[in-house]
């Protein structure tokens, strides 16, 4: 029995470039061959502080990108970093979005869920896929990656904001519903707030379209051993069987669209975050 390649240690890299997407969202670029696929994540280590799972927002082969929203203590500290500062990276981990040559695919992103879906669009476009990219946010300021998404070949962009400041006023899922009724869509891929993804999954399932969802759960090891991110009632580990999971699998789970668990294993309900 050999396990030569089974090493899960952070590789420390210097930040090569930083792009400020919004006042709270930044993209860090690194020179490194990560060999990732769209939808996968890395564990990003801020030495001496903490380590967090972060989706990959681009990988050209010799350079990759991570888009980080400062919403907790660790990500806020990460946001203060400058070009040349060091971060550790473990991974890539988890499942990826699946698409095949020349398919029609609909990508639906909420907020900075646009970052990993942008990476997905780039790779799908290379395979000749025709892409409808729906991006939605509360307001204009929270729309990210629009400039880069627009550059992707064979892509039609649809924008929705809750306040109507750009695109249609309303929800991205309304656009998705219209699209699946109007044309043939082979696959739907979604990343964003869980309740939005739940609606997208319901739309996909109602039309029997292959729907892939990026499920976010609290993670510790990232390689399937600690049990922190397991989903009820089947005990599926979201770090190795996810983050990208088929909507048909998610339908069998109690957690999806209902609750996630905190670092100590307490259930946190989406409709009532204070109840434990």
């Amino acid at each position: 029995m050999t396990h030569e390649n089974l090493t899960e240690m952070p590789v420390v890299l210097k930040i090569k470039k930083i792009k400020e997407e919004t006042p709270v969202i930044k993209t860090f670029y690194f020179d490194y061959s990560l060999n990732s696929r769209p939808g996968q994540f890395v564990m990003l280590w801020l030495p001496g502080v903490d380590e967090k799972p972060i989706s990959i927002s681009g990988d050209s082969g010799d350079e990759f990108a991570l888009t980080i929203c400062s919403r907790g203590d660790t990500t806020k500290k990460m946001a203060e970093l400058k070009v040349g500062d060091q971060l550790g990276v473990r991974g890539p981990y988890g499942t990826s979005f699946h698409f095949e040559q020349d398919e029609n695919i609909a990508l639906i992103a909420g907020g900075y869920g646009a970052a990993p879906l942008y990476y997905t669009a780039v790779e799908a476009s290379k395979l000749g896929c025709k892409i409808d990219f729906i991006i939605s946010a509360h307001e204009k300021e929270n729309l990210v990656f629009l400039d880069r998404i627009e550059q992707v070949k064979n892509l039609t962009l649809h924008v929705a904001t809750h306040d109507g400041s750009v695109g249609i006023k309303g929800r991205g899922t309304t656009i998705l519903e219209k699209l699946v009724n109007e044309k043939e869509i082979h696959r739907i891929m979604t990343c964003g707030p869980e309740m939005m993804m739940k609606t997208a999954a319901d739309i996909g399932d109602s039309k029997n379209i292959n729907t892939q969802v990026s499920v976010e759960r609290y993670m510790k090891c990232g390689f399937g051993i600690c049990g922190q991110c397991v989903l009820d009632p089947m005990g599926i580990r979201s770090c190795v069987s996810g983050p990208v999971m088929n909507s048909k699998v998610l339908k069998m789970l109690d957690d999806f669209g209902n609750y996630s668990r905190d670092e100590n294993g307490n259930k946190i309900y989406f409709n009532n975050p204070t109840k434990k």
């Binding site: 280590w45 001496g48 090891c221 390689f223 009632p233 089947m234 005990g235 100590n264 294993g265």
Partner: protein
């Protein structure tokens, strides 16, 4: 096909592989999934009386030879654990060993009192985690008197609540004389042992940043590298006490498990192998044990327990 069943403290296990404590969480769903993947039994992650926060990440790193972890025993507390245990017991697919932990002796007693009222199979007293030393001081399993006190008190309360429930003490390799600790616990009423908890703690340093990689700086060492030590200490405790043992430490193959049993273990704890060989490592290890038995004309696994020659 050899008979893979074993009896541990009167409880029957379909095969000797049990999920080691600390691996794959504190949810009924996760335990059931592990049984579906071939485990003969389950040990829960250690349960605290109150909610307990673990360490920040990184909490776990691996090399091909060892794993280093300082998860720090995060847990939602006894009430939440009881509901997960209840959900598992409602369709119990394999025996359940509940691991309990506390900062003080009284905490162990309080948890044991309540766990003993559930239909669980064994209580495992975790007095040997090396990763909460900054919070609680030297683990009880490293000091003979402390190990004795906890064992006696837990045994007394369990005996009162549920006389047939065995109490197993999880021992630490990080002590001058594990045999002395084990015999002391045996005198205090321990029905069996689980050993070894992780070794160390150890330290891994990232060269570029010169920083310890684990957030807790140090962490317990497990995985293939510690197996020879585990086999040796299992054999020492087996010879000294003759009590039933869950042999744990770096078992990743059927051959490893057989070696642990020849040293004196009845059950074999599986932890880091979930990473090295996948979640179905329980089935793989059991199949490998079975193949060896067939080749070597061993009809029942119980024949090999403690058969290492002197």
């Amino acid at each position: 096909m050899a008979d893979l069943k074993v009896k541990f403290c009167g409880k029957e296990f379909a095969n000797p592989t049990v999920l080691a404590s600390g691996i794959l969480g504190v949810t009924a769903a996760s335990w059931k999934n592990v049984v579906l993947n071939g485990a003969g039994g389950i040990t829960t992650k250690s349960v605290w009386f109150n909610e307990h926060k673990g360490h920040p990440n990184p909490t776990m790193i691996t090399t091909p030879y060892y794993m280093l972890n300082a998860v720090g025993l995060p847990d939602a507390g006894l009430e939440k654990a009881k509901s997960e245990i209840g959900a598992y017991l409602s369709a119990k697919p394999a025996p359940l060993i509940v691991s309990i932990v506390g900062g003080k002796t009284e905490e162990f007693e309080k948890i044991a009192e309540q766990i003993a009222q559930l239909e669980v199979d064994i209580i495992e007293v975790n007095i040997s985690c090396p990763n909460v030393e900054s919070e609680f001081g030297r683990p009880f399993a490293c000091v003979s008197e402390d190990a004795k006190t906890v064992t006696a008190k837990v045994k007394a309360i369990v005996k009162k609540m549920n006389p047939n429930l065995p109490v197993v003490v999880k021992l630490s390799p990080n002590t001058e004389n594990i045999v002395k600790i084990a015999t002391t616990c045996a005198e205090a009423g321990a029905d069996g042992f689980c050993l070894i908890n992780t070794l160390g703690p150890g330290l891994a340093i990232n060269l570029e940043t010169r920083m310890p990689i684990l957030a807790n700086k140090v962490g317990g060492i497990s995985g293939p590298a510690i197996k020879p030590l585990a086999v040796k200490l299992v054999n020492d405790v087996y010879k000294a006490t003759k009590l039933p043992i869950i042999g744990t430490g770096g078992v990743t193959t059927g051959e490893d498990a057989l070696e642990m049993m020849m040293a004196g273990a009845i059950l074999v704890g599986i932890g880091s192998a979930v990473y090295f060989r996948g979640i179905d490592c329980f089935r793989k290890i059991t199949n490998e044990m079975n193949e060896w038995c067939d080749k070597n004309d061993v009809k029942s696994l119980t024949e090999i327990i403690g058969t290492v020659k002197r």
